[in-house]
């Protein structure tokens, strides 16, 4: 289904060094997907899977019950298939959150903090990581392994609602909502006891 092959496709956006696709190229890309629109989720997944790498800027709003206003942070996101996801916060405090393979790295240079941990050691973290990563990879099987998946909308404007299968995790995170269009993920909203977190991504042109 990966008709784009190794070709770079829009995800959160294009890599700076690649030319924007022409209308024709996009139409060619979407043709086989729309052809099997009987299953729009599969079509979206295929579009996402076709994106081998992408970059975006993000704005994250975090609502915490103990705070009377949301915390806002900004930074960049970078995705590289099959399994590398980097979230680099620039403001208000620099932070690197990197998932690569089984390894999760958290760096906060101002605090002199650098932690590496294996996802195997943190079974409660894996569903949260896969919610993002398996979506970007277009890997519906892994997504379903950890979550109940509900799809709404169509390929050009879709919404996927994930509910963790683990009861224990559901005690902390009730719902993750992903929104996007075609192979581009634009919004991630997490609803949990922590409160609500909404991340909005803008593809880097």
């Amino acid at each position: 289904m990966n008709i784009a092959g190794r070709h770079q496709k829009p995800g959160w956006g294009f890599r700076g060094d690649s030319p924007p696709p022409t209308f024709l190229r996009r139409a060619l890309l979407l043709f086989p997907l729309t052809a099997q629109s009987a299953d729009p989720l599969a079509a979206v997944m295929a579009a996402l899977a076709a994106v081998r790498s992408s970059r975006a800027t993000f704005v994250e709003e975090k609502e915490v019950p103990e705070l009377d206003r949301p915390l806002v942070s900004r930074g960049t996101l970078a995705w590289r298939a099959p399994d590398r996801l980097e979230k680099r916060t620039i403001d208000p405090a620099p932070e690197l959150f990197l998932i690569e393979g089984d390894r999760l790295t958290l760096e906060r240079p101002q605090r002199g903090l650098r932690e590496t941990l294996s996802l195997d050691t943190a079974p409660e973290l894996r569903p949260l990581v896969e919610a993002l990563r398996a979506t970007l990879a277009g890997d519906i099987a892994t997504l379903r392994e950890h979550h109940e998946v509900r799809f709404s909308g169509d390929t050009t404007r879709w919404r996927i609602v994930l509910v963790p299968r683990s009861l224990r995790l559901r005690g902390a995170v009730q719902r993750i909502t992903l929104e996007g269009s075609d192979g581009v993920l634009t919004v991630v909203e997490t609803q949990g006891n922590e409160g609500r977190t909404r991340l909005t991504a803008t593809p880097v042109p």
């Binding site: 915490v64 405090a93 958290l106 941990l117 294996s118 050691t121």
Partner: protein, 763 residues
């Protein structure tokens, strides 16, 4: 063959007695049997630590040979399994507190236990800093973790406490577990059983290996282990391998030699009778007296082949033509009796050496000698046909050369004088001062242990401080005071770091601001930050609850196994009192530590290396003193048995042999250990046989002199063939004994020949 039926029957009876006896004898191979007895409070403490201290219960595992992720997974799987195993009091691999019940208990007591709880931490500016830190944490990706503790513990007292605990190890954490360079995942397991409980330690090692195997290690991964269980197993294996090799080779070589000498394989059977009886007697006596037999004592007993086979050889070889064996036995008995009595007198110092292992060796040898001598006198003549076992005469040229040696007596005496002068001039042989050199644990195993210890950050403990108090509380308070007094110059690990005294816990709580003040300061600190007014209610409630909690004491730690295991090595019952240990790390200036400790009443400084060396020196000194006593006893016996002049000549042959032996050992670069010294005593006993039998012929004819010479040469060769092989052993005790006796026996033989009385007729 029929003529030897009685001999074979006797051998069969003796052989069947071995398994019967061994079933009731406990064989041991731990090193502490070879540790000396204590004489001071410091050395008593040190010995107790070496025998039962926490370090003796610690197993260290390193896992390597795979990517770090795999190693971490194996480490975690192993830790989970081992924690569930009742064999271990503590399993640590760098991962966080696993026990939720314990975490809850410690969290509730955090304001009493955490070193970060100072009045300064609860001032308005400090609280403001803490709240800003919480906000920063909430902003980060680690927000869920931050939120879990931050609103109940904004000042981070709990995390500071855990960090302080982790600070004891200097090993880096990767993938959530300790990971040393390599990568090599590190895991510690402390057994419940004592380090000396060999079986329990081996079970612990087996549990570790099982846990490793069940963690499905990928191909290429390796498990490295170190600890008392490994030491015991390795030492036992080394001793066993040594003993097997030596006894097999000895059997073949001695058998071949005797076959050549007596033109009959029967001589080997003849020699076997006193040997078997002597070994049986040694085993039985040692087991009765000590309750067990040390592996090395048994190995040493096997080398008695070289000593007690002298007796039947002396008996058979000294038989004159036409004489019955019974008459020969009666004729040589006074000499044999004197030789055995003197040898036992020479061995007696081993019994008083203070090393239980050496005492066993001495007792084993002495009982064996006596039993073998009695067997030679009374049993052998009854077992052997009269006219059996003709001796092949010695090559004539050799016999002549040796029997003419007394003519060169002057030269030999000059040689002895020169060597003695050289020894005095060079300050004598170098003494071994390192206890590790005496350990039967093979060196590669000790090297691996050192490497693993360094990697888990266990500091090289050069000094230990210790104190005693009437109660656990008093001991904790004293430890706190001592640590405070030394805090400026030294980093000190002690029990109160983990569990402060009740007094300190109360003082910390009392120093916190009261509820109303804390509430007011928190409200001011919150000003301008986005926290809701109720956000830190859990914090205020927990502080209020902490005031009502009774301090945590060592008796309350059933629910906190991790904390209990941490303080167990540092605080423990000692009789009806309590003992606390303080471990200073990175001591660069021992003199400064000594001065500082002298200023703290009741605190005892034990300098491990110096104390160990003092122990060894004290015991070497004791061995030498008892050696002198043994020497005096030998002289007395010889004087009584042979008259002053002849006794003196024999004593000179012996003393000369000892002198030459130690000169040779020095020249070989051997550091003299207690094992060399005691082996020298044994050598004195063996060498005396030669001098006695050589000088027995003072008033006899040439033929008898030649027979005596032949018997002594045969004795010497068999001794060399056994002790010579011991010198090839890896176990230090066996190697030292072998080398000393090998050199000594050769010297003793030549001196016995040279110092024997001159023949009446020149040859």
């Amino acid at each position: 063959m029929r003529r030897f039926a009685r001999l074979f029957l006797a051998l069969a009876v003796l052989a069947s007695a071995f398994p019967l006896l061994l079933r009731h004898v406990e064989l041991r191979s731990d090193i502490t049997d070879f540790l000396p007895a204590a004489t001071t409070e410091e050395s008593a403490f040190l010995l107790r630590e070496l025998r039962t201290g926490a370090a003796t219960r610690l197993l260290i595992a390193g896992i390597e040979g795979a990517p770090a992720e795999d190693l971490a997974r194996i480490s975690r799987t192993m830790a989970q399994r081992l924690s569930a195993d009742g064999l271990f009091a503590l399993v640590a691999n760098g991962s966080a507190l696993a026990n939720e019940e314990e975490a809850a208990l410690l969290f509730a007591h955090r304001y009493a236990l955490s070193p970060d709880v100072t009045p300064d931490a609860f001032t308005e500016p400090a609280l403001r800093g803490s709240l800003e830190g919480v906000l920063d944490g909430l902003q980060s990706s680690a927000a869920p973790l931050v939120r879990r503790f931050a609103f109940a513990d904004p000042t981070g007292a709990f995390l500071a406490m855990l960090r302080g605990w982790a600070g004891e190890g200097r090993v880096a954490t990767e993938h959530g577990v300790w990971m040393a360079a390599g990568p090599r995942a590190m895991l510690l397991a402390q057994t419940r059983a004592a380090g000396l409980d060999t079986q329990a330690q081996q079970a612990a090692v087996a549990a570790l290996r099982d846990a490793y195997a069940e963690a499905a290690p990928p191909a290429g991964a390796r498990l490295l282990l170190s600890g008392p269980g490994i030491f015991a197993a390795e030492a036992a294996a080394t001793v066993r391998a040594d003993v097997q090799l030596v006894s097999t080779l000895s059997f073949v070589l001695v058998g071949g030699f005797l076959f050549w000498r007596y033109r009959s394989p029967m001589m080997l059977a003849v020699v076997a009778v006193p040997l078997a009886l002597g070994t049986l007697a040694g085993l039985a006596v040692v087991a009765t007296v000590f309750g067990h037999v040390h592996g090395a004592a048994l190995g040493f007993g096997m080398t008695m082949l070289g000593v007690v086979d002298d007796y039947p050889i002396l008996l058979v070889t000294n038989r004159a033509p036409g004489e019955s064996l019974r008459d020969t036995a009666r004729r040589i008995w006074p000499t044999l009796r004197l030789a055995v009595a003197a040898a036992v007198a020479g061995l007696a110092p081993m019994l008083a050496s203070g090393f239980p292992g050496l005492a066993q060796l001495g007792l084993f040898a002495a009982s064996g000698l006596v039993a073998a001598a009695l067997a030679t006198r009374f049993l052998l003549p009854a077992l052997l046909p009269t006219d059996s076992l003709a001796v092949r005469p010695l090559p004539e040229r050799l016999a002549h050369a040796l029997l003419r040696l007394p003519a060169r007596r002057g030269l030999v005496l000059v040689l002895l004088g020169v060597v003695a002068a050289a020894m005095v001039a060079t300050g004598g042989p170098r003494m071994e001062r390192d206890l590790a050199a005496l350990s039967p644990v093979p060196e590669p195993v000790r090297v691996l242990d050192g490497e693993l210890r360094a990697q888990v950050g266990a500091p090289d403990v050069r000094a230990v401080l210790t104190l005693r108090a009437d109660s656990a509380e008093a001991a904790l308070q004293a430890a706190e005071r001592a640590a405070d007094a030394l805090a400026g110059a030294f980093t000190i690990d002690h029990a109160a770091r983990f569990l402060p005294s009740a007094a300190t816990q109360r003082a910390r709580i009392a120093a916190m601001p009261d509820d109303a003040t804390l509430d007011a300061r928190l409200a001011s600190a919150r000003d301008g930050l986005p926290f809701r007014a109720t956000a830190f209610d859990p914090f205020l409630a927990d502080v209020a609850a902490a005031r009502a909690l009774a301090p945590l004491t060592p008796d309350d730690l059933a629910a906190a196994p991790g904390l209990a295991a941490r303080i167990a090595p540092l605080l423990r019952r000692d009789g009806d009192a309590w003992r606390a240990l303080l471990l200073p790390s990175d001591v660069h200036d021992m003199a400064a530590l000594r001065t500082a400790v002298a200023g703290v009443p009741g605190l005892l400084l034990v300098e491990i290396k110096a104390e160990t060396e003092a122990l060894l020196a004290a015991n070497t000194g004791a061995a030498l003193r008892w050696g002198a006593v043994g020497g005096a006893a030998v002289l007395l016996l010889l004087g009584a048995g042979r008259g002053l002049r002849a006794g003196g000549r024999i004593a000179l042959a012996l003393a000369g042999a000892l002198l030459l032996t130690f000169a040779a050992l020095s020249a070989l670069g051997e550091a003299i250990t207690i094992f060399h010294l005691t082996a020298a005593l044994l050598l004195a006993g063996v060498g005396m046989d030669y001098a006695l039998f050589m000088s027995r012929s003072e008033n006899s004819d040439m033929a008898e002199a030649a027979r005596a010479l032949g018997s002594v040469i045969t004795c010497m060769v068999t001794t060399l063939l056994t002790f010579g092989l011991l010198a090839l052993c890896r176990t230090p005790v066996l190697q030292a004994t072998g080398l000393t006796v090998t050199i000594g026996v050769a010297c003793a033989f030549l001196l016995a020949c040279a110092l024997a009385p001159a023949r009446r007729r020149p040859i």
